[in-house]
């Protein structure tokens, strides 16, 4: 059984249950300009494809925090309130390039009921590209309410 796309309650989760996966993309190189401005990071690796080619890369590299943002959005979209997010732990494993398609998914690792009701759900989360290469992997933890 997969966690349904409608907001699940704490009672709906089971250990080893897969989270619904989503696909997004293709990634757009023009998105890297506003992201570079927000991050105050004009590293040419993200903006200049000739510079990237000279360093042996197939194209400019999508900024890591943008990859993370897509995985955060995916996980928090499953929560009743996105700010029920408690903690995250993520490792950068590979680069994302323009036109890449990304998929995000996860699996329930642990359930900890809270005395006040509901509980904390810990999930493995991941992001992969169209070739199945892992881009990000880690864990995310959130408060989930009980069914009213």
């Amino acid at each position: 059984m997969t966690v349904p796309m409608s907001k699940p309650f704490f009672e709906d989760y089971e250990i080893s249950m897969p989270l619904p996966s989503v696909e997004l993309g293709p990634m757009d190189r023009y998105d890297y300009i506003p992201i570079a401005l927000i991050l105050r990071d004009t590293n040419p690796l993200h903006l200049d494809r000739v510079y990237a080619h000279e360093r042996g890369l197939p194209d400019v590299v999508q900024q890591g925090p943008l990859n993370q943002a897509y995985l955060y959005r995916y996980f928090t979209s499953l929560l009743h309130d996105p700010w029920d997010l408690v903690a995250t732990k993520m490792r950068f494993a590979a680069n994302v390039f323009p036109e890449d398609m990304l998929s995000c998914g996860g699996e329930v690792l642990a359930l900890a009921p809270l005395e006040a009701g509901g509980g904390i759900v810990t999930c493995a989360v991941w992001q992969r590209n169209q070739n199945g290469d892992t881009i990000l992997k880690g864990e995310a933890k959130a408060r989930i309410p009980s069914r009213p």
Binding site: D31, Y70, R73
Partner: protein, 154 residues
């Protein structure tokens, strides 16, 4: 010659501040669409109150951590690393969330180098772990805390 970075453990990095500006959040939402966090239309005084309590999405949190932390250190002085010639990458990031980020609020970032170790992959590299906390400048309450590691290739 590769510098010995083991003596950097415990080094307190400089304090930095960042304002979770409406412009940054709106530009971010132009790329990472999150309708629940979109800018409200300002038509009345009631709307102005809503704007004052507007939250940034959790997906913006890694940006605050990365941006804030980059302001706390100098690659050369604090990491003994020449950013112009060397290659650096983000390693692992862990964040605990204590309360939501409010659009418009200024946050203070404090950070220290908590560990330095060498690893061998295809190449040899140093891992520098930085422990950080991000608090409201005005209210001084904690918003986020965690660790970020940087990989410095040798």
């Amino acid at each position: 010659m590769t510098p010995d970075r083991s003596g950097l453990v415990g080094r307190q990095l400089r304090k930095a501040t960042y304002t979770v500006s409406e412009v940054d959040v709106n530009d971010f939402l132009g790329v990472v669409t999150e309708p629940a966090f979109a800018a409200p239309a300002m038509d009345s005084e009631i709307d102005a109150e809503i704007v004052a309590r507007r939250l940034a999405p959790p997906s913006f949190a890694p940006f605050v951590a990365v941006l804030g932390l980059l302001k706390t250190f100098d690659w050369q002085d604090d990491f003994l690393f020449d950013y112009r010639t060397g290659t650096a990458m983000f390693g692992e990031q862990s964040i605990e969330f204590h309360r939501p980020l409010v659009v418009g609020e200024s946050v203070a970032i404090t950070a220290a180098i908590s560990d330095v170790y060498e690893k061998q992959g295809k190449n040899r590299f140093d891992v520098i772990e930085v422990t950080f906390s991000i608090a409201s400048v005005e209210k001084e309450d904690l918003l986020m805390s965690g660790q970020q590691s940087y990989i410095l290739f040798k």
